[in-house]
C-alpha cells in the first residue's frame, strides 16, 4: 500500500507544479487592429507582454496580475494613445511608470487596490486628457499627483474613499478640466474654503458629479460667485433637512445645468416638500432637471416658483398631477416630461414653450387639446395615448410646429389634413394605429414636410392619393404596412423630391410598372422583407439617382435577362441576400450577370441557392455556367446524331438498290440469261405492262431487262418456240401478271403451264405472281393449279395508291434481284453465254 501512496503524492506534486507553470499563460493577445490595437484582457499576465508591436496605440491589459508597475513599464510602446489597466491588482505604481508615453490620451486604472502611488507616478505623459481612477482606494484628491497634467480634460475618481471636497491648489494648473466625477465617495461637508481655487482660477466649463455622496452640509456662500457648467447631485441626501441645507448652501452659484433627485434604487428621502425648492431662488440656473423623487409636492406652482426663469426644465420619473396649474408667464422654453405618471394628459398653457418632450409617460388614455402658441417641437412618443381626431392647429394651439412625433401610441384617427400646420417639417407616426388614412389625402397641407414615418401603423393603402401634397418630402418610411392586392400602385406622383424610401415588410408581391417614375431623386430604396418573386428591373429604371437598393429577404428566384441592363447606372449597392435563387441552367444568364456585378452586390457570399435540391445552401456565385454548356453540347450532339442517322436511314432506304449495285462491285451481270424476267400476261393487260411494269423496271434502278412478247419475240418463229426459246430459256425469272383476262386467255394459261414445267425441269424457284385485280374465286377454281399456288405462295398484289405502288415496286425489285449473279466473272460468263445463245439462235 505504501508505494501506491508515494506514487499518488508524487503525481499530485507534479500536477501542482504543472498547473503552477500553466498559470503564467503564453496565450497571445487578440489583435483587434493589426499593429494598432491589442486586447490582452484576462490572460493571466504577470508582466507587460513583450510580444506586442511597438507601434501599438490601444492596449487593453485589464483583468491581469500586474501587481506592481515599475518605472518605464510601457516605454516599449511610445505610440500609445489608450492604456487600459482595469482590475490588474496593481498595488504600487513607481515613479515614471508611464514615462515616454508622449501621446497617451487615456489612462484607465479602474478597480486597482492602489496602496502606494509615487509622487512622480504620472510623469512623462504630457498629453493625457482622460484619467479614470475609479475604485482605486483613493482617499484624497490633495495627494493625487496629477498637478502637472495640464492637458487633462476628464478626471474620474468615482467610487473611492474621498472625504473632502477641497479642490486642490493644483487645479489652477488644469485649465482644460471639463469633467470631474466625484460620485460615490464619502464627502459629507463642503466648506467655503474648499472652493477657494475656483474663485482664483474659474473653470467655467466644469461639469461636476457629486451623486451618491452622503452630503450633510454645504456652508452658505461656498459656491458664491462660482460658475459651473453642470452640477449633478443625485441620491446625496438622507433627509429632507440635509437636502434643504445643502441647496441653500449652493446660493450664489451660476450654473448652466443643475441635476437633482435620486436613483430608482437609492431612494433615501422619506418626503419632499416645496421648501426644498425654495433654496433654488438664490441660484442662477439655465437648465434644471429633477428625477425619481418619490413624493413630489402637488402644489407645482410653488415648487417651481424659483425656476420660473429657467429656459429648460426636465422632470423624470415623478408623480405629477397638477401641471396645468403652471402659470402662463413662466419662461420655460423647453419642457421634458419623461417616465412620469399622470392621471390625465396635462393641458398646459405656456406662451413661452417652444419644445415639449412628453415621452414614456403612463396613466393617461386620451390626448387633450393644448394651447401652446409658440410650440415648434412636440414629441409625444410612447404614451399609449389615443387621438380622437388628428391633426390640425387647434389640437396643439400652435401654427408654428415644425417637429411632431406621435409614435408608439394607441389609435390615431385621421380626420383633418394638418390644417394650420403647414410649417411641419418632421412627422413621425410609427407604431401607432392610423385610422381613416385612406379616406382623403391626409398630408395634403404638409408642403414643407421633409420627413415622414408611418411604419407599422397598420395602414392598408387603397387610396392612391394618400401622399398628395408632400412636395418637399425627402424621407418616407412606411415599413410594415400593406397594399391592396399586394401591388405597389402609382402613389408617389407628387413626392418628386424623395431621396429615401423604405417599403420593407409590406407583403409586396408586385410593383406597378410606373410606380417609381416620379422618383428621379431617390437614392435609397428598401424593398426587403417583401414577397417579390422576381427581380423586375423595369420599374427601377426611372430612378436615375438610386444608389442603394435592398431587395433582401424576398422570394426572388431570378430575373429576366433582357431587363437587367435597365438597372440604374448610379446604383452602388444592391442587396439580394436571403432570396430563393434557382441555380439552374434556365437562369444561367441571370446568374452570370450576378457574377459580373459582384462589386455591386452586398454580402455576395451570403447569397445561396434554394433550388435545385443538390445546390441548396450553395453560394449563388459558385454556380458554373460550364455545367450548362456541357449539357447543351450533349443535347446538340445527340440531336445531330439522330438527325444524321435518320437521314442516312432514309437515304439507304431510298437508294437501297443503288447501294446494292455499289456493293455488288459496281456492276451486276445478267448471269447466263439475257433477260431478268419473262413476263406472262394477257394482251388485255398490255397497257399496265407497258406503262407501269416496263417503265418502272427497265428505266428504274437497277435496270432490269424484261422479255416481252411484243418486243423480244423473234418474228417468223412459232409462238410456242418463241415462248420457250426467248421467254423461258433466256430469262431468270418469270413474272405472271394474273388477272381476269389472264385466266380466260388460253395462251396465257399455256405459257403459265410451260413456265411451271420449266420451273420443275430447271429446278429454279423463279415464278413471281402479280395479281392485278381481285379474282373471282369460281373463275380461279377453273385453274386448279394456279388456285393452289396462289393460296399457298406469296404473291404481289397491285394497289393503285402512292404507298401501295411504292411497296409493290420495292418488293418486286427485291424478288427480281434474288439469285442474280453479282460477280464480274459472272458478268463475263453471262456475256459469253449471251453471245453463245445469240450465235446458237
Amino acid at each position: 500500500m505504501m508505494p501506491h501512496t508515494h506514487l499518488a503524492v508524487a503525481l499530485m506534486t507534479a500536477m501542482a507544479f504543472l498547473s503552477c507553470l500553466r498559470s503564467e499563460s503564453w496565450e497571445p493577445c487578440v489583435q483587434v487592429v493589426p499593429n494598432i490595437s491589442y486586447q490582452c484582457m484576462e490572460l493571466n499576465l504577470y508582466k507587460v507582454p513583450d510580444n506586442i508591436p511597438t507601434s501599438t496605440k490601444i492596449l487593453d491589459l485589464s483583468f491581469n496580475h500586474l501587481n506592481h508597475l515599475g518605472s518605464h513599464s510601457f516605454s516599449r510602446f511610445p505610440e500609445l494613445l489608450v492604456l487600459d489597466l482595469s482590475r490588474c491588482e496593481i498595488q504600487m505604481i513607481d515613479d515614471n511608470a508611464y514615462q515616454g508615453l508622449n501621446h497617451l490620451a487615456t489612462l484607465i486604472l479602474t478597480g486597482n487596490p492602489i496602496q502606494s502611488l509615487a509622487l512622480r507616478a504620472f510623469s512623462g505623459i504630457p498629453s493625457l486628457q482622460k484619467l479614470v481612477a475609479v475604485e482605486t482606494n483613493l482617499a484624497s484628491l490633495e495627494d493625487f499627483p496629477i498637478g502637472h497634467l495640464k492637458t487633462l480634460k476628464e478626471l474620474n475618481v468615482a467610487h473611492n474613499l474621498i472625504h473632502s471636497f477641497k479642490v486642490p491648489k493644483y487645479f489652477s494648473n488644469l485649465p482644460n478640466l471639463e469633467y470631474l466625477d466625484l460620485s460615490n465617495n464619502k464627502i459629507q461637508n463642503i466648506y467655503h474654503g474648499d472652493l477657494q481655487v475656483l474663485h482664483q482660477m474659474p473653470l467655467l466649463n466644469l461639469s461636476l458629479d457629486l451623486s451618491l455622496n452622503p452630503l450633510d452640509f454645504i456652508e452658505p456662500g461656498a459656491f458664491k460667485e462660482i460658475k459651473l457648467n453642470k452640477l449633478t447631485m443625485r441620491s446625496n441626501f438622507n433627509s429632507i433637512d440635509a437636502m434643504k441645507t445643502c441647496i441653500q448652501g449652493l446660493a450664489g452659484l451660476k450654473i448652466n445645468r443643475l441635476v437633482l433627485g435620486e436613483f430608482k434604487n437609492e431612494r433615501n428621502l422619506e418626503s419632499f416638500d416645496k421648501s426644498v425648492m425654495e433654496g433654488l431662488c438664490n441660484l442662477t440656473i439655465e437648465q434644471f432637471r429633477i428625477a425619481n423623487i418619490r413624493e413630489f409636492p402637488e402644489d407645482v406652482t410653488d415648487s417651481f416658483n424659483c425656476l420660473a426663469n429657467v429656459s429648460m426644465i426636465s422632470l423624470l420619473s415623478l408623480y405629477l398631477d397638477n401641471l396645468e396649474a403652471i402659470p402662463e408667464d413662466f419662461r420655460w422654453q423647453h419642457l421634458e416630461l419623461v417616465n412620469c405618471k399622470f392621471k390625465r394628459f396635462p393641458t398646459l398653457k405656456l406662451n413661452s414653450l417652444k419644445k415639449f418632450v412628453f415621452i414614456h409617460n403612463t396613466g393617461m388614455s386620451t390626448f387633450v387639446e393644448t394651447e401652446l402658441p409658440n410650440l415648434q417641437f412636440l414629441a409625444l412618443k410612447g404614451n399609449d395615448l389615443s387621438f380622437k381626431g388628428c391633426c390640425s392647429h387647434t389640437d396643439f394651439g400652435t401654427t408654428k410646429l415644425k417637429y411632431l412625433d406621435l409614435s408608439f401610441n394607441g389609435i390615431i384617427t385621421m380626420n383633418s389634413n394638418f390644417m394650420g400646420l403647414e410649417q411641419l417639417e418632421h412627422l413621425d407616426l410609427q407604431h401607432s394605429a392610423l385610422k381613416q388614412a385612406n379616406d382623403f389625402s391626409i398630408f395634403l397641407s404638409l408642403r414643407n414636410l421633409h420627413y415622414l414615418d408611418i411604419s407599422y401603423t397598420q395602414t392598408r393603402i387603397v387610396f392612391h392619393g394618400i401622399f398628395h401634397g408632400l412636395v418637399s418630402l425627402q424621407t418616407l418610411k412606411m415599413a410594415g404596412n400593406s397594399f391592396q392586392n399586394n401591388l405597389l400602385p402609382d402613389i408617389f406622383t407628387e413626392v418628386t423630391n424623395l431621396t429615401v424610401l423604405d417599403l420593407s415588410k409590406c407583403q409586396l408581391e408586385r410593383v406597378s410598372q410606373r410606380a417609381f417614375d416620379p422618383l428621379t431623386k431617390l437614392q435609397v430604396l428598401n424593398m426587403s422583407h417583401n414577397k417579390l418573386l422576381s427581380l423586375d428591373v423595369l420599374p427601377y429604371e426611372p430612378l436615375r439617382s438610386l444608389q442603394i437598393l435592398d431587395c433582401s429577404f424576398n422570394r426572388i428566384v431570378a430575373s429576366k435577362e433582357q431587363e437587367l441592363q435597365h438597372l440604374p447606372r448610379s446604383l452602388a449597392f444592391l442587396n439580394l441576400t436571403q432570396n430563393d435563387f434557382a441555380c439552374v441552367c434556365e437562369h444561367q444568364h441571370f446568374l452570370q450577370w450576378l457574377k459580373d456585378q459582384r462589386q455591386l452586390l452586398v454580402e455576395a457570399e451570403q447569397m445561396v441557392c434554394t433550388q435545385p435540391l443538390d445546390m441548396q445552401d450553395m453560394p449563388v456565385l459558385s454556380f458554373r455556367n460550364a455545367t450548362c454548356q456541357i449539357s447543351k453540347m450533349t443535347i446538340s450532339v445527340s440531336v445531330l446524331t439522330v438527325l444524321l442517322v435518320s437521314v442516312a436511314g432514309v437515304l439507304v432506304y431510298k437508294f437501297y438498290f443503288h447501294l446494292m449495285l455499289l456493293a455488288g462491285c459496281k456492276k451486276y451481270g445478267k448471269g447466263e440469261n439475257t433477260y431478268d424476267a419473262f413476263v406472262i400476261y394477257s394482251s388485255q393487260d398490255e397497257d399496265w405492262v407497258r406503262n407501269e411494269l416496263v417503265k418502272n423496271l427497265e428505266e428504274g434502278v437497277p435496270p432490269f431487262q424484261l422479255c416481252l412478247h411484243y418486243r423480244d419475240f423473234i418474228p417468223g418463229v412459232a409462238i410456242a418456240a418463241n415462248i420457250i426459246q426467248e421467254g423461258f430459256h433466256k430469262s431468270r425469272k418469270v413474272i405472271v401478271v394474273v388477272s381476269q383476262h389472264f385466266i380466260q386467255s388460253r395462251w396465257c394459261i399455256f405459257e403459265y403451264e410451260i413456265a411451271q414445267t420449266w420451273q420443275f425441269l430447271s429446278s429454279r424457284a423463279g415464278i413471281i405472281f402479280i395479281v392485278l385485280q381481285k379474282l373471282e374465286k369460281s373463275l380461279l377454281r377453273q385453274q386448279v393449279e394456279l388456285y393452289r399456288l396462289l393460296s399457298r405462295n406469296t404473291y404481289l398484289e397491285w394497289e393503285d395508291t402512292v404507298l401501295g405502288r411504292h411497296i409493290f415496286w420495292r418488293r418486286l425489285r427485291k424478288a427480281l434481284l434474288e439469285g442474280k449473279a453479282w460477280s464480274p466473272e459472272g458478268t463475263a460468263d453471262a456475256e459469253s453465254s449471251q453471245h453463245e445463245a445469240t450465235t446458237s439462235t
Binding site: 500536477m15 479602474t110 436613483f263 430608482k264 419623461v338
Partner: protein
C-alpha cells in the same frame, strides 16, 4: 489507490484552464413551494444574485441583490428576458436599463473593472406564479452588444 491516481491525472489534464468551464448552479431563493436556481451563462464570469421575497404570489417591485465585477462599461445597458416552459418560448422582451441621458439606476455609467452591488427593486408586476417548471434566460448587454451578465434560471413552483 491506483484508480484514484489515474482519475486525478485524467482530471488534471482534461480540466480546462480559464474559459470554457460551466459555472455552478446557485440558489437565488428557496421557500416551501418555490425554488429559483440560476447559473451564469457568461463564459467569462459567475455572479451573485438573490431575491428578498420568495413566494408563489410574486409581489410588484421585488427587491433583489446583485453583485458583479463589470467586464464592460455600462453607460448604456439593456436586458433581454426570455421565458420558456417545457422547451417552448412563452415570453420574450427587451428592456432598457440604462440610457445615456436618463440614468435611472445608481449603477448606470459604471466602468469596466468596477465592482457593483445592486440592492433594490425590480420593475416587475405582481402576479401568481402558476405551478410548473420554467426556464428564464436573462442577458444584460451594453451598447456594443457585449455581454455584461447572462443567467439561465430555473423556477420550480409546486
Amino acid at each position: 489507490m491506483k484508480g484514484f491516481a489515474a482519475a486525478f491525472l485524467v482530471w488534471a489534464l482534461v480540466s480546462p484552464q480559464g474559459g470554457g468551464e460551466t459555472w455552478p448552479a446557485h440558489t437565488a431563493c428557496r421557500d416551501g413551494n418555490l425554488e429559483v436556481l440560476y447559473q451564469s451563462c457568461d463564459p467569462l464570469q459567475d455572479f451573485g444574485f438573490s431575491a428578498d421575497q420568495c413566494s408563489k404570489q410574486l409581489k410588484p417591485n421585488l427587491n433583489i441583490r446583485f453583485g458583479i465585477v463589470l467586464r464592460e462599461d455600462i453607460e448604456e445597458l439593456f436586458l433581454d428576458v426570455a421565458l420558456f416552459a417545457k422547451g417552448s418560448s412563452i415570453l420574450k422582451f427587451s428592456y432598457p436599463v440604462c440610457e445615456v441621458d436618463l440614468p435611472k439606476f445608481s449603477f448606470c455609467g459604471r466602468k469596466k473593472g468596477e465592482q457593483i452591488y445592486y440592492a433594490g427593486p425590480v420593475n416587475n408586476p405582481g402576479f401568481e406564479i402558476p405551478v410548473g417548471e420554467y426556464q428564464v434566460l436573462l442577458e444584460l448587454y451594453n451598447r456594443d452588444h457585449s455581454t455584461v451578465a447572462c443567467a439561465n434560471a430555473t423556477v420550480t413552483c409546486s
